[in-house]
């Protein structure tokens, strides 16, 4: 196995969170007597990532993804367990460690709001002590890869979300980090911009050999970029492997779609598989893997049969099934 870049053992993080009921009365009472609860954001997470891997980090809202990334980046001190990134203990925030990583959070910015992004790039050049010639080369390459030439000299507040994210990525990569933590880098972007950012992340990973750990609510991001996915829920590891392995484990049925001149009634299709979608001219069925060889010829035999496809269940559906199964298991155990 190639060199491990991220190694977490039994990593946990607890937060004390204040809460109160709605209303002025509750707010005044909270001034004198505050109610708090302890939230276990991450519970005993163990995980290893090798150099150059692209890993998708998935989970529902509040699963502990961002908290984990922040512990990996040294922003949060773990409550228990240990983590090493590139041989460093992140929360000690050694300079060489900080030079070797980057954390990009889609909803936060490091760029100065009132100034053009180039001014923040220049500040980062000084802070990261990047040699002038290397800085110029990297900036030109990143600007070219992201097609950002026309936007880096505009004040950041005048940029669209997608344009701003391009500049955030440039600012985050100018020092040439070898480990990249990306938290929702395509959030709120249109489809074309998402594709551009995905292409850029893949190119950076392949050309620089950088390790990428990515969280995203857009399953297309993860499916297109990450050969390996790590799924957490309520702070616990639920799955670690390839998308194909997850799909086989959670939703092993193959999804077959076909168009034809006249689709038989749904009830008549039960023998072939479970009907997912039906219209008079197109149908989608979930079929057991061992039955695919028999079902496909049967569908192709329909009059004017065309556009037949055989796929795994969509990742979003697989994830929903995974989380609902985990909840059911817990309820049964509890």
């Amino acid at each position: 196995m190639s060199e491990l870049v991220v190694r977490a053992e039994g990593l946990s993080k607890r937060f004390t969170v204040a809460h109160r009921e709605a209303g002025l009365g509750a707010a005044v009472r909270a001034l004198f007597r505050r109610q708090t609860t302890t939230v276990e954001a991450v519970r005993g997470l163990s995980l290893s990532i090798a150099r150059g891997e692209r890993v998708g980090f998935l989970g529902p809202n509040g699963a502990g993804k961002t908290t984990t990334l922040k512990m990996f980046a040294g922003l949060l001190l773990p409550s228990a367990g240990s983590v090493r990134v590139g041989g460093w203990t992140p929360h000690q925030r050694e300079r060489e460690f900080l030079r070797s990583i980057s954390l990009v959070v889609g909803q936060k910015r490091q760029l100065s709001w009132d100034l053009p992004a180039v001014d923040t790039f220049e500040l980062n050049r000084v802070i990261f002590e990047i040699e002038g010639r290397i800085f110029k080369q990297r900036l030109e390459r990143l600007v070219s890869l992201l097609a950002a030439g026309s936007i880096i000299e505009k004040p950041v507040r005048q940029l669209s979300l997608g344009e701003r994210m391009k500049c955030e990525l440039i600012a985050a990569l100018l020092h040439g980090p070898q480990v990249l933590f990306l938290d929702e880098p395509t959030i709120g972007m249109d489809v074309a911009m998402q594709a551009a950012i995905r292409g850029f992340i893949r190119t950076y990973n392949e050309e620089e050999g950088a390790t990428v750990l990515l969280t995203s609510h857009y399953m297309e991001d993860v499916a297109a970029l990450c050969p390996r996915i790590v799924v957490i829920d309520e702070g616990r590891l639920r799955f670690d492997g390839s998308i194909e392995a997850l799909t086989r484990e959670i939703s092993p049925l193959r999804r077959i779609s076909v168009s034809a001149a006249r689709i038989p009634a749904a009830a008549a299709l039960a023998a072939l598989g479970r009907v997912v979608e039906w219209s008079p001219s197109r149908v989608t069925l979930d079929v057991a893997p061992e039955a695919v060889a028999a079902v496909v010829p049967a569908l192709l035999a329909w009059p004017e049969s065309r556009e037949l496809s055989v796929k795994d269940a969509p990742l979003e559906e697989v994830m929903r099934a995974l989380f609902s199964r985990a909840k059911t298991d817990e309820e049964e155990a509890g």
Partner: protein
């Protein structure tokens, strides 16, 4: 901190100052308004000069022009606070509240240095310049001719005063890790700083101890004036250095503890 470390901090300060200057120049109207306010601030600081020259009474043993020397030093510190420390504290407290401190903590330099240079209001330095001018005028009027030792002692206590001022700022910043929205602390501090207009001999008992050891206004204004007027006792010089160093150690420890508690925001 080694020589290369000191050079890195100086480069950082220069780069952050450049960003603040660029931000100030980005909006023309804001730039000129700030300039006008800076000039007004300086003029307000000099008003006591006009008042004092019309009365010849002494305050706690200090003559009118000696008081002007203290006022000049007060303006120097008030200008430094308003130009350098207060904007950086307000900006950093906002970073802590919103969780955007993350971006600062990910940079390979001392996070405290980044926080303390996070923003500048360059125009407020006009007040410090006016204060320095007032100090020189006051010393000339008094007829003081400080020798090298006196000037050196004054510079030491001024440095100790600046260290004390920054240490208090760091403690305020640490408090904002525990309780958000503490920007008002900086305005309270600004108001408190007004006590530094007066020589410390004006205060008695607990107030005198407070303004010497806890909020060391005496170190910032009274002691430098005493040094330049040839009245500073060696023991006071020692007290100034010890108080500043003590506050700095406490502030640095609080900062390290606060970073360990930092919970970021938004996930």
């Amino acid at each position: 901190m080694g020589r290369s470390g000191a050079r890195a901090v100086l480069r950082l300060i220069a780069a952050q100052a450049r960003m603040s200057a660029l931000a100030a120049l980005q909006y023309r109207l804001g730039f000129w308004t700030e300039g006008l306010l800076g000039a007004l601030w300086s003029a307000i600081g000099v008003i006591p000069l006009l008042v004092a020259t019309s009365y010849q009474e002494t305050v706690a043993g200090w003559g009118p022009w000696e008081l002007m020397a203290v006022t000049g030093l007060f303006m120097v510190f008030s200008g430094i606070f308003g130009a350098l420390l207060q904007p950086a504290l307000i900006e950093s407290m906002e970073h802590i509240r919103r969780g955007s401190l993350d971006a600062l903590l990910l940079r390979p330099v001392d996070a405290l240095a980044l926080c303390l240079t996070a923003a500048f209001s360059p125009w407020r330095l006009t007040e410090a310049a006016a204060g320095a001018a007032l100090l020189v005028v006051a010393l000339v009027k008094v007829g003081a001719a400080p020798d090298l030792w006196m000037i050196g002692a004054a510079l030491v206590v001024i440095a100790a005063g600046i260290v004390g001022l920054y240490a208090l700022g760091i403690l305020a910043l640490c408090a904002s890790f525990l309780a958000m929205q503490l920007q008002n602390l900086t305005y309270l501090f600004d108001a408190l700083l007004d006590f530094a207009r007066w020589p410390s001999s004006v205060f008695r008992g607990p107030l005198k101890a407070l303004f010497t050891f806890v909020v060391p206004f005496a170190v910032m204004t009274t002691m430098p004036a005493e040094a330049l007027l040839g009245r500073l006792a060696a023991v006071d010089l020692g007290i100034a250095v010890v108080v500043a160093a003590g506050l700095l150690v406490i502030a640095r420890r609080c900062w390290s503890a606060s970073l360990r508690r930092y919970a970021s925001a938004g996930g």
